[in-house]
Amino acid sequence: METLPDGAPSPTAGRYPASAVELDRRARALESLLVERGLVGTDTIDRIVEIYESDLGPLLGAQVIARAWLDPAFKQRLLTNATAACAELGIGGLQGESLVCVENTASVHNVMVCTLCSCYPWPVLGIPPAFYKSQAYRARMVVEPRRVLEEDFELVVPEGVEIRVYDVTAEERYFVLPQRPAETEGMTEAELAALVTRDSMIGVALAASPPRSNA
């Protein structure tokens, strides 16, 4: 679309925000108009929704991370070319055409944000959570990440550890390789994957600790 002349009202002026009832009616109206015009099928809409509600999500990213913890050669490939490494596990696609995985270490903690919208690696992590899309997160994470992590995510990053904020506003889609938790020797890939939370791959949390056995 063309740029808007100075002083011109926004095309959607007065339409947003709107009540849930109004949005629901308007969405059904738009859908019926586009279906009538032969531009979309109801099957397409349902399938798209189904893919993102059921097929894609952070369980896929967790598999990648667990594999990297167990297999040093895979980890090296992941850090060198995450798109190709994820493809080995059948993971990839829209909004993950160019993936980058960044590694947390004893001296660097990575965290991601998109200050301009909410760019996110969909094939690895699914649709972003509400906090990631929130305006407060987008505004604050680039300027006061230590404070946001500590106050809002209960994650204290030690003073000597560099916080590296990735503001992912271009075309590469990042996710974090969290540090492998202690006392996980001998765990299987599936057991390790269960410790890899969505938040740990965004960088607002560490990977979970293994459950304590009472043996």
């Binding site: 109801t42 809409i45 301009l116």
Partner: protein, 234 residues
């Protein structure tokens, strides 16, 4: 009007980041599913492109943008693009909406479009890459010092305001990608190299910056100028 409310990095006045307790659904209401599906299906057919879609969101009135939810931003962009392409008008949407019950009472009839269905599946699985081959080699390399230009186009850009005029160091050459500033306005793809640039917190934020923090930002080549001769030119 000028876009701007979307460029939130460092914007003052925001409080705590709210987190959902426990797991949260991808969509919480039926209209959100429809908006997501319709956006996807219309983008997949090439009725408009992703950069236009982003610019449409940015074209919201700034006060409306700030007051709207994430999926409302998507809905606004969807309407804006379809109206801009003269596929529907706001009048048609609103008159149709007025004829509908407040609650959906019956299942909508199934309308199948197998070809579109397949196109969408392949877009989801295979992606739609904005990476392009460009003939020339990258102007900058790792270690080069660069400054982000002060660049306030009337239209779309992916250069956040907080980085403008700030100096950083290139850490990586990402590859060449379609240039959003032109592609959003159908002025061509004009691909350029994109670079990851590392900015120190005090360079970006002065005394407001926190110790031991850096920001990595991926920037298209036209957003940058050298602050020292590039190594290849020395």
């Amino acid at each position: 009007m000028r876009p701007g409310a979307h460029d939130l990095g460092g914007a003052p006045g925001y409080g705590a980041v709210e987190r959902a307790a426990g797991s949260e659904p991808v969509f919480s209401e039926a209209w959100q599913r429809r908006v997501f599906g319709l956006t996807f299906a219309t983008l997949a057919q090439g009725l408009y492109n992703t950069d236009e879609n982003r610019f449409a969101r940015e074209s919201m009135d700034p006060a409306d943008y700030r007051a709207s939810s994430y999926w409302e931003l998507w809905f606004a962009a969807l309407e804006t693009n379809l109206v801009d392409k003269r596929i529907v008008s706001f009048g048609e949407i609103d008159s149709r909406a007025a004829t509908l019950q407040s609650e959906s009472t019956s299942d909508r009839p199934d309308v199948l479009m197998p070809e579109l269905f397949d196109d969408v599946e392949s877009a989801v699985r295979g992606g739609v890459s904005p990476a392009r081959d460009v003939g020339d080699s990258p102007r900058y390399g790792p270690g080069d010092r660069v400054r982000a230009l002060t660049h306030h186009p009337r239209g779309h850009t992916r250069l956040p305001a907080y980085a403008m005029g700030r100096e950083g160091v290139v850490t990586r050459v990402c590859g060449a990608y379609v240039y959003p500033d032109t592609n959003a306005h159908l002025e061509g793809e004009h691909p350029h190299y994109v670079y990851t640039v590392r900015f120190a917190a005090d360079e970006l934020w002065g005394s407001r910056g926190e110790p031991g923090v850096v920001v990595h930002l991926d920037l298209w080549e036209p957003y940058l100028e050298p602050t020292a001769p590039a190594e290849s030119e020395q």
